[in-house]
């Protein structure tokens, strides 16, 4: 269980950064509050709390990618990884150690989002519990993206690619902020070829208690998660060899 010590270290590095807490936990809540306030003044169906919250929980996961990628890229940039590569830790220990501690943080983020939504009027049903559980594949997808980006990018590049590009992609192409049907055309096609909108629509279906409607979105998310995880592991192993 050597990986547990390494995972514990990674969790501490992430949770001790106040910016991580502000963006990872604070920002999604601010968005829910802000958009709900807009909804109260100018009613828009897409910003109704039961429709909005699943989108915010998925969007919030883009920060998990940022956390994961930043820790890995910083470790690669310093000599700490080099030191740890000379210890009995195996490649498996490193991969689990980097991914495992972010999962509970991601789950905590989604739970906090749903608690905020409950305060703002979301009905308390067992579906919220299911929604938190069905978010796990999407959480793994965003964590795998972090492992992938952290394995190939520097910490400065991670800031740009994950902090700016991915968060925008996850926002615009997820159907959280506007109905993708309104844009249509190539934009809609691209959005539906990516996993973000599928993760959001799956979450909306689960929260609404329409479990039959989670398909085919669940397959899209699981497929992307599997492919991304495999690519991330391969790229991590490649950079490990390069060290």
């Amino acid at each position: 269980m050597r990986w547990l010590s390494f995972a514990d270290r990674n969790a501490k590095e992430i949770l001790r950064d106040p910016l991580n807490l502000a963006f990872g936990l604070g920002f999604p809540i601010v968005l829910i509050l802000l958009l709900t306030a807009i909804q109260a003044n100018v009613p828009v169906p897409i910003f109704e709390i039961a429709h909005l919250t699943p989108g915010i929980t998925v969007f919030g996961l883009s920060f998990m990618t940022l956390f994961s990628a930043t820790v890995i890229a910083k470790d690669r940039g310093s000599s700490l990884l080099q030191r740890l590569y000379t210890t009995p830790l195996t490649a498996k220990d490193f991969i689990i150690g980097y991914t495992f501690p972010i999962l509970p943080i991601a789950m905590a983020q989604s739970i906090i989002c749903y608690i905020a939504a409950l305060v703002l009027g979301l009905d308390l049903t067992v579906n919220i519990l299911y929604a938190v559980l069905f978010l796990i594949p999407a959480e793994l997808l965003f964590i795998a993206l972090g492992l992938l980006c952290g394995s190939v990018l520097t910490d400065k590049q991670v800031g740009g690619i994950c902090g700016a590009l991915l968060t925008n992609l996850a926002a615009w192409l997820s159907g959280t902020w506007f109905d993708l049907e309104l844009v249509g055309g190539a934009f809609r096609k691209i959005a539906y070829a990516l996993p973000f909108v599928h993760a959001v629509e799956m979450e909306r279906a689960v929260l609404a208690g329409k479990l039959a409607d989670i398909f085919p979105h669940l397959w899209w998310v699981l497929g992307y998660t599997a492919i991304t995880m495999i690519a991330a592991v391969l790229l991590f192993l490649r950079q490990m060899k390069k060290q």
């Binding site: 390494f6 000379t86 009995p88």
Partner: protein, 242 residues
């Protein structure tokens, strides 16, 4: 048995030969220094010996274990303090030491005693609760060495341990390294001639990946016909160019 036996070790990166047919031995408990100008192949040699890089050809045996076919066994008997300070910046000094205990599988029963012992040896008790990232360069190097020693390695690699430190911090680290002599086999790389001369039992001088000389500081000075070790180093390295 020799602590380290290097047989024709070579590392090539495309057209560049970083280490060229290196052969030497290091005795148990010896403090052995690798000297050379930038690009001499010192760090690549350490990377190969610590199983970070696979040699292009040749082999090396650390306490009889091959760096090619017994990497797991080699990793269990070595420790590396890399060139740059390799600490987890967001963790306290204590947590950094606990991290290394954990990755080396040192149980909680032994952990407290081990950390207390190293804290005393390296004088870390006053900074134990401070975040590693907030420490000065000298303290970070001490912590880095403590992290390397936590697993009680049989062979310790110190890659430029005093680089960038002020005179006092360097002197303190020299004392610490001296205190380890005889207890653990140490391979030290350094740019500082006086450091190599003051600390080493034997010194190997490398240039362009090749071994130029391997002897005691006194023997090297005699070979170069000078009383100054720095002058001897310059003559040997320049002589190899001609």
């Amino acid at each position: 048995m020799d602590a380290i036996r290097i047989d024709s070790l070579t590392k090539k990166y495309k057209d560049v030969t970083a280490v060229d047919n290196l052969s030497l031995t290091v005795k148990q408990g010896e403090l052995f220094s690798l000297l050379g100008v930038n690009g001499a192949g010192k760090t690549t040699t350490i990377k190969m010996l610590s199983c970070l890089t696979t040699p292009t050809s040749g082999n090396a045996f650390l306490n009889g274990k091959s760096i090619i076919s017994n990497t797991c066994d080699v990793k269990s008997i070595i420790a590396v303090s890399p060139q740059e300070t390799a600490v987890a910046p967001g963790l306290s000094v204590m947590e950094n030491l606990e991290l290394m205990c954990g990755v080396h599988g040192i149980g909680k029963d032994r952990r407290t005693g081990k950390i207390a012992e190293l804290t005393e040896l390296l004088g870390l008790d006053t900074v134990l609760k401070k975040k590693a990232g907030k420490l000065s360069g000298g303290w970070q190097r001490r912590l880095s060495i403590a992290m390397a020693l936590i697993s009680e390695p049989q062979i310790l690699f110190l890659d430029e341990p005093t680089l960038g430190l002020d005179v006092l911090a360097r002197s303190d680290l020299w004392d610490i390294i001296r205190s380890l002599k005889g207890k653990v086999t140490i391979i030290l790389t350094t740019h500082y001639m006086e450091e190599a001369e003051a600390l080493s039992d034997r010194i190997a001088i490398m240039k362009d990946g090749r071994l130029l000389v391997c002897a005691t500081a006194g023997e090297i000075k005699a070979m170069a016909n000078t009383d100054s070790f720095e002058e001897a180093f310059v003559r040997i390295v320049k002589g190899a160019t001609k």
